[in-house]
Structures are given as structure tokens and as C-alpha cells.
Symmetry: C2
Subunit: 691 residues, 2 copies
Amino acid sequence: MHSVAVERVVTGTEVQLMSGLEAEELTRKQGMNSRVILVGAVIVALVGGVILGRFSSGLGGGGSLADIASERGMTVEQAEGALKAFTPPGEYDEYVLVSSGGHSGQLHLVGVPSMRLLKTIPVFTPESWAGYGQGADWSQAILDEGSSNKQARELAWGDTHHPALSETEGAYDGRFVYINDRANGRIGMVDLRDFKVKQILDIPNMQTSHGGVFVTPNTEYVHVSSMTPMPQTENGYADLEDYADLYRGMSTFLASDPDTGRLDTDASFQIELPPYTQDLADAGKLESFGFAFINSYNSEMAVGGNAEGGVPIETGASQADFDYLHIIDWQKAEAVANAGGTEERNGMRVIPLETAISEGILYFAPEPRSPHGVDVDPTGNYIVIGGKLDQNATIYDIALIKEAIANEDFEGTDRYGVPILTFESVVAGQVLLGAGPLHTQFDGEGHAYTSLFLDSAIAEFTLGPKAGVPDGEAFQLVDKVSVHYNIGHLAATEGDTVAADGRYLVALNKWSVDRFPVLGTLKPQNFQLIDLTADKMAVLADMPIGFGEPHYSQIIRLDRLTSAIETYEPGTDPLTFGPPAFATAAGEERVERDGSEVHVYMTATRSHFTPDILRVREGDTVFLHVTNIEITPDATHGFAVPGYNLQASLDPGEVVTLAFEADRSGSFAFYCTEFCSALHLEMQGWLLVEP
Amino acid sequence: MHSVAVERVVTGTEVQLMSGLEAEELTRKQGMNSRVILVGAVIVALVGGVILGRFSSGLGGGGSLADIASERGMTVEQAEGALKAFTPPGEYDEYVLVSSGGHSGQLHLVGVPSMRLLKTIPVFTPESWAGYGQGADWSQAILDEGSSNKQARELAWGDTHHPALSETEGAYDGRFVYINDRANGRIGMVDLRDFKVKQILDIPNMQTSHGGVFVTPNTEYVHVSSMTPMPQTENGYADLEDYADLYRGMSTFLASDPDTGRLDTDASFQIELPPYTQDLADAGKLESFGFAFINSYNSEMAVGGNAEGGVPIETGASQADFDYLHIIDWQKAEAVANAGGTEERNGMRVIPLETAISEGILYFAPEPRSPHGVDVDPTGNYIVIGGKLDQNATIYDIALIKEAIANEDFEGTDRYGVPILTFESVVAGQVLLGAGPLHTQFDGEGHAYTSLFLDSAIAEFTLGPKAGVPDGEAFQLVDKVSVHYNIGHLAATEGDTVAADGRYLVALNKWSVDRFPVLGTLKPQNFQLIDLTADKMAVLADMPIGFGEPHYSQIIRLDRLTSAIETYEPGTDPLTFGPPAFATAAGEERVERDGSEVHVYMTATRSHFTPDILRVREGDTVFLHVTNIEITPDATHGFAVPGYNLQASLDPGEVVTLAFEADRSGSFAFYCTEFCSALHLEMQGWLLVEP
């Protein structure tokens, strides 16, 4: 009897599962009677439910959902979180979070809302599973290009910080993503056709870069500014006594090729900056198009010396009540550079500090208490600053900035002569948020969301009339949510762009404390998913990050990734997207020997390499040109040689070359490292190095 | 009015959310009336629900759950999957899946059922975010130890395949995990106190190892067998004409130190095997304790030669209808080894093939059609074999095997004289499953689950009476579920042990085809979570694997990981768990110069290094001994030097040493690579290399 009742509840629930339209349609069609029958069924069902204590599982519908939640000890809120965050098997997430991999040197792609790690993209660090920097020539070429004469030695890692997705008219266009190496002042470019890195550029005249990365609204330029200044001397050395005189920061505008996304040093320029520590930055858009904004701290120019009677930098750099927001007119800078107002330094056109001042390219505005984040809202009207040691968000208005510049409304200049706009003249408002405001994101409906590191919270506040907020409600704190713990950056869905849509917010938390089980002494970070469509912000899900410290992320709508290709044309070099000379078609496999140099033109297909026996002599230099002749998208093959430290990964159509000295005799069973078929284990051959 | 009704439904649902006991208690206390009131409320609610078409969100309970599912376009089954797979924020998964990282060379830890990647553990491949092999001495020492004279050069990667968690009395004890390098015939040991690798052993006399990894029931030995045989010659070379005579496989029993988990070559031994390709393996337990089982294929001894008029190995190795299940009496082998019945090869005691035969250590049993998986059931009675080109699971009975050995019930011997037990005498049954059976897991209730690569499915079948299955129901197919796609291994919760509990099953699928959005030419793998407690197997969730090919996994109950430590004692070297000579306490920081050798004893704490200015001369050899003096578990610090390719990661209490030649003059801003405090950016100093 009960079970019958229970069967019936499915009917009731199926109605609940209908869309509003369908349900209204149903009620109109069937009239009250059907609803009474339905309700009758539900009465019995719920009574049964109460008496049984639970519905039997697997019958579906709201009843069994609540039942499953109850069995798993979930609260109603947790169950709702599950349904809001879960992406069912085989379905796609609506968004992709493009996250830096921090000191992994890589990029990560995460599905939103499911918070599943979809892919890792190797950029600055060799990655054996991808055959990246493991002997596959195109990737080694990129890593070598990225270890220029500026560097002491070949660099085998980077500290990725700020991904910048390419934009058209201020919105993501899904074509490229740029990512900086905070440790070594480099930048990488990933092509979103095959999601592989195509360039690593070692930027001249700067050593490190932190948050100074953004693209201008049409990706005219990719901006990278230095973090710590470096001596502008021949050998890059200067004693710290000469810090104020010889050390300088740089704001770098790298010209991006619209077709390939490659950065062209010749068409790029730098603007010399005082030796403060330049930090986060953002590009103006719409109302503020043509301007760039860079935070700075340590205008005290503290250099530490805590073992030499000095104070640590953290103390020395936190003395002043104000540091300087750098306001750069990059269109004016471009004109000056093209008019020859630059000097050449290490292959880069540099606009000297004096020129930047005299030409009206660089202005400062005071910003309170060790500023960290600077973010431009979707309308381009407001620039929001968070001061690490402040309690407020400070909001600047681009119209006020332009007006103050026009009126030469200056409080004075810094010691290098940079004009400082009057604080009160350029600030539209301040909002008291809490301890440790850092970064701000936007929802496109006049709301801003600022991370509070010390509070471990996110504060939501309203912007002003120019963002569509009624005058009376402007610049007010409206909501706050706790996160766990120590939030750094946060990323809203398309929240860096003119298309910010206010769907989701992800908190990038640095500590996880007790959120995850103890699995060793290195604790994970914690990404937390927040629903922005609910009345109040609430954490839906935690994503442990147990593979390094992601620093910053951007979230792009999946349907914008239209350049992505399913697979390569047969015989493709990923670096050029063209066929290399050593591409090999089926039937053209061959071995060519020139003295002690052996070139093997191989193919890979399920489930063999051709040739599958390679005979060389000890001392030979061997080049293995391997082409994956598969056309099925998932049919990736690998190629590895035991003991020879050789590993390549070949997507369908891809060509790689492995080069090595056959410096050790023996019989080596090379094999495919990707489980490709039922006879994958048999996809093996013999490299015979005769003594 | 509607909204009131909607409010009320929460009451109804909250009852549903109660446990059976609570609900019965309630009904007893309140009697029918309360239920009528409750039901009345629900009527209004559901009518309201139908009329509104949907409940307004955020009100909780079954209604709003179904409503959220409906809004997100989920089916009832998908919504149930969400609730079954989701682990709410801040709560812990019940299980940890310990997964190989394939050609990433690492290990991954994944929470079950949430399928969240909890941690990556570097083993064979340098990992910059962990400071692993990046200049931190303890990890470099491990990587160097793992690149022995057997190898041509320092190995910078591995192909991890088969994790083996340590066991006591056949159940996981949560102390160590061993992981093999399929590419280079090595094995690593990870200590589950701090979840860091402590040893990489380069196993003599074998070149590669695939699936031959297991621990004996009390971790007396860690077994690794060779995959491809290698020439047992001085220089490891032999022409393929001498394959049958000079190439040999090895079954290696590595003695494990019960306190440290370290593998001791002196106490270990190998058993020489014919030059077939040894594949998966498993340890006997309970009824079969003392035995080891290894699959083999390519008893044809095909070597390929597809460009020399021969056939590819995939064809040559697939001719025979039967290959040989290797049955090894390891206790007998241990006795023979300890009695001196071995010859020493490259520092390892080897039992020659002839001795293994004459002493009754090694027997064969025929196994059909390119066998791949061999798995011993939780009772130890049954050994299940999957043949890649077969349609059946073949189940052997250890009692029948022992009997056949005792009766010398042989069909004959192979060409090397190994006795072959009569197939019919040792097989308890066969079950027709489908195309491409590979690996089998168990639920502890008499059911076995076998992956079907070609069918992309998992088949469930019953074992025999000795596993508690009634005679009439023995060895029957009972259920089948489709997976997506090309499943290799599968892992059931504790399914490799005597404690298999039949809660969850994870399918390790090699291709994902259309399951995830197109994010480049390299496609993810796909882990799929299956609920074993439901009447029929069903996929609950997909987990994309976009970071290499995990090969095999084991799933351990979280509450067994009792050795895990929260953090280190102050001044700990992870390799020894003791304080190294160069550990530095606060106040003891110093610089010691001896000619051109400079030793810096540094400390790291929020938010500075001491000393924070390092002055050396170009050409100096510099040793930076850095101690993280934090005691807060999450307070990990990093240490990086721009341009010098130096990156270390220091957990609280950890000590590392970075050594480098100051071969380039300049001013380098070293810094902390872990976002550790609000003034993390200020945690920076200057390395001055004077020209």
C-alpha cells in the first residue's frame, strides 16, 4: 500500500520538475480535478513518507532527493549547493575558469560551476605527460626562446600569476591567453585553437612581474609591469645604496599580432617608472579607454637589511599613509614612441621617466595604505582600489581624473617630478568593507565584490550612478560572506570585462586549514564557488587545490571558445600549425644515415610504430621524427625510450622530433605511453644500440 | 498566499529530511492530527507548486531541490547523482583514491565520492611548486638515488602505473604507498606520514615494469616484475636473434623495512622468468597466502620487424590461444634464497630459472587469449583472469591449483621446462562477459566487477560458494553498465583487499570522446564514479583528467590514514624526519664564508626572510640553508631567486638547502612563492652578486 503511494509521488514530483510554462499548460488543460488527484496521491505519499520515515530510494523526484540528502546527512542548504554546483555526467559546464598555476608554472582550466579540473596547460615548466620540454622539439624551442641572455641559465620553471584572455571591444574573444612569470619577468602566450603555448617572451629591462598584466580592450597591447625595480645598468648590478638613483620600474606595452597572438618586441615599448614596487594593474575600457592603471607600494623605497640593523621590508614598506596609483595614457605613449621619443635598451624602445612626465603620459594619484588591487568596472567609469592595510575600498572616477589632469589639479609631485593629482578631486567615494581589502570583481549590475584577506570574507557593495546605481544607494556595503580561508584574488564570471554577467564568483583562498582531511604537511589551497544569483551570497562548493598555488583566474563563457579545434590536420607542427619537413605519411617511413647521424622517419598508429626495430651504433646522434597518422580526435599516442629519458606526446596529426646521443649500448623497449587500444601494450618496439 | 503555502512545505520536507527513527518518534508523539495538519500544508504547498509551476528558490526541502534540478535542466537520475556524489563544503570524503599519474610520473589523491583532486605527490618528475628536484637537497638526493648506473643519464620523469598501498593482514594500514615506473623499471616509496616520497629504487636486471606490482598481505615484500624482458648480459645488449636465449624476465621481491617502509636490496631477491612479456600480477591472501600470480603474454616471443618483412608485435604476440599464468610460491623462493640458492647479479640475489623449476617455486597454468588482468578475490580462493581478446572471465581456484601441483597434474612444460598445470584441473568456472575483459575488482559479498575495454562497459558477476555465493548462482553475469569510454582499470573501495566493502566503483576510462568540451587537441581521460549500493550499477559523476593518463588506482578508507601528521617538528629534514645539521633557529641566522664557499643559515617566517640581504661575489659557490620556523600548519613558505632557476617549498618546520654557483652578477629580488600573509608581497629580499 505504501509502496503504491510512493510510486505515485513520482507523478507529483514530475510535475514539480516541469518548467513553469509546462505546468501552467498542464493545469489549464486538466483543470482542478487532475490537480486534486495529483494532490491525493501526494497526501498518501507524504503520509507514507512520514510513517515509513523515508521513501524507498531510486524512485526519483523531490521526495527521494530529500531522502538521499538526509541519508548523506546533508542540510537543505548543502543539498541545494549540490544541485547548483553539479554538472551531470556528459554535460558541459557553462564557464571555464582560466587559472594560473602559480609556481607550477602552468595554466589550469576549471569547469564552472562543477569546479572540475578540465585541463592543465604546460607553459614555463617541462611536463612529461605532455612531452613538453622532454625532447619534443617545438616545445623545447619555446622553452629555449624563453631563456634569453637576460637569464643566468635555461629556466625550468616559472611562477604564473595573472592570466589575461584576449579581448575584442572589451569582451573575451576566446582566441589567446597570456600569462606572466612573476619570478623571471617573462610572459607566455597560449593559442586557444589547440590550447598549447606558442611563445615565451623574456621581457627586457625588468626582472620580475607580479600583477601588472592585462590586455587593452582590443588586445592592441599586452601590458606587463615590473614588480621589484631592477638596476638599469650594463650588468644589472647596483648596490642598494644606489637604489633611488639606478633602480627603475617598467610599464611594458607588448604589441600583439592580431592573427597569431605573438608578441612583437620591435613594435612594443616600455615606460620607465620610479623604483617603487609596481603591483596590480588594469586597462581602462569604454569611458576610460586609452588609460592604464598600476598600483604601487613601497614608495618608501625600503630595501630591508634586518640582519644589518635595518628593519624588514614588510615594515619599511608600510610606513606611508599613501602610495601612488599610476595613471598612464598609453595612446599618448604610443604616439611618443612612434615619434621616436624613446631610447633603445636591450632591443626595447624605452620612454625615459622624464619624457613620460614632460609628455603628460604618467600621472599619480594618492592611494591609501599599501594598495594592492586596482580594478576597472564594466562601464569603465570607476577604478576601485583596495589597500592591504586599509579598511576601505576607494573608488576613483575617470571623469574626475581627466578633469584634474586638464586643470593641473595637483597636490605636488613625487621626488622624480611625477605630478600627483589631488586625492579629493579624483575620488568618487569610499566604502568601509573590513580588514585587508585586496581585489574587486563586478557583476555588470552596479555591484562590486571585494576580497578581504584579513577578514576571510567577500564584501559586496554598490557602485555609483554611472554604473546604474540610484544616487541614494551609491557606494554602500550590501552583503558580506565568509570564505575559508585567507582569500587572495576572486574571479566573477566575465567579471573583468564589459560583459560581466553576475552568475558566479570564485574565491581563491590561500589556506584551507580544516576544510580538507590531513594528507601530509603541505596543505591544499581552496577555491570556493559562490552563487551571485541568490539574494545573499553563499558558498556552494569547495575545490581543494593540492598542486601548487593558483594566483589569479579569469572566467570565460564556454560558448566564446569558438577557435578551439577538435584535432590537427595530418602532419602538423603545433608551433606553426603547418607541416614540418620531417612529417611522415604512412608508407614513407624510412631510416636515413649520414655518417654518425641517423634520421628515422616514423609513424605511429594503433597499435604499432613503423619501423618498430631501430638499429643504431653506440655514439650515433639519433633524430626520431615521429608522426601520429591517426585522424580520430582521442587517438593520442606517446613515445618513450627506457633509460634514455625520452618522452613525447603526439596528438592525432602531430609531428615531433626527439634527438639524443646513443651514448649507451643496450636493447631498449620503446613504447607508446598513452593507453590507445586493446593492444596498447603491444605498441612497442626495440631500439638496439650496438656496442 | 502562495508564498505562505510555499513557506509551509518546508515543514513537510523537514520531516522527510529526518531519519526514520526521528520521523517515527514524531508520528508516535503527535498522532494522526499533526500529520493531517502537515499533509494539509503540503496539499496547499503542492497545489501552489503546480499553479506557480515552481516553488520559489532557496526555501529548502524536497520541493526546492526538485525545483533547482528542474531549473538546471537535470533529470531525476542526474539530481540523485548530484546528491550522492557531492561532498558539502568543509566536509570530508569517506575515501581517498590513490591514483598513479601515468607519464606525469606522480601520484594523485582524489576524494571519493566527490571526485575532487585533493593532492598531487611528486615522485619521479621534478615539480617546481613542491620545490621537488628544484634544488631542495632532500628531493634531489632521492631523484639522484633513482638514477643509478643502470640508467644512461639522470632521469627526469617516470611513467607511474600501479600504486600499492601497504597492508597488514591483507587490509590497508595507511602507512606507505609504493608506485612503479613502467618506463624505467623503478619503484618509489611514499611515506603516508607527510605524503612525500622517501625512496626511488632502480631495480637491477630489469628494464621496464608494467603491472607486476603488489604488496604481500603484511608488506613482507613489494613485488615488481619486468614487462619486456632484457638481455642478461654485461652491457644489456643482445641482438633480437638471441631473444629466446639471452633475454629474461624477472619477478622481484623487494624486502620492505617495517618501520621506515624503505626497500632493502640486500634482503630482496629475484626469480628469473622466461622471456615472455610479464604483465599484471597479484598476491595471494588468506587461502592463497604465500603465492603470487603473474599474467604473461607474447609467449610467441614476437619481436616485431614490420619494416623488415616481419609482422608488428601486436600481431605476432596474439597468435597463441593460451599464454601462461605464472604461479609463484614466494615463501619457498624466500627459503631457497636464504639457503643460498641464488647467484648475485648487479647487487641482487637471483634465483635462476632452472632452480625456480627444480625447487617447485614456479608453475604455469594456461590462460586464454592475451591475458591482461589477474585479481585475487577477498577470500583468497579465486583468481580471476581477463583476456584482452577473450569474451570470458576465467576463474581459477587456489585449492585446485594446490591439488594439481601436489598431483603433478601437468599438461606438459613450456620450452624452458616450466610445468604447465592442466587447464581443466585448476579452473573453477568461466563467465561470458563481453568484448575485451581486462581487470576485476570485488565487493566482499561474492561479486566481481570486470572492465570491458572493447565494450566500454563493466560487467558484474557472481563468484562461487567459497566467496559465499549459493551453488546455483555461482559464476553468473548479473549486471552490466556502460562507461564512457575505453575503460582500462577500475577501482572498488578497498576492492584489492580482504576488507572490500562494495560502496563505490571508479572506472578509469582512457578516452572521453564527447563527454567534455573541446579544449584543445589533447583530450582528457575520464574517471567515472559508480554507486555499488544501488540495485543496478549507475554512473553518478564524471571526473575529467586533463593532466596525463592515470593508469591504476586503489581506494582506501579515509579513517585508515592514521599515520598522517599535521605538521613537522621545528627543523625537520623530510628525508630523515630528523633535524639536519644546518637547521637554523630564530636568532641563529648567520653567514659563514670559507674562501669562495658561502653558507647562509636563513629562517623564513611571516613576513620576512632573515637575513634579507645576501652579498656574494661573482664566482662564489653559495649554499642557502633555509628553515621555515613557523609552527602553524598552513604556513608554508617558498623561496625563489629570479633568473637563477631556484625554487624551494618549505612546510612549517621544514629545512631545505639550495646550492648554486653565483655565476652571474646582478641584483636579484628573491621572494616567498607561497601567498602566506597580507604582507606576503613584502616577503622579499635582495641577493647581490657583485661583479
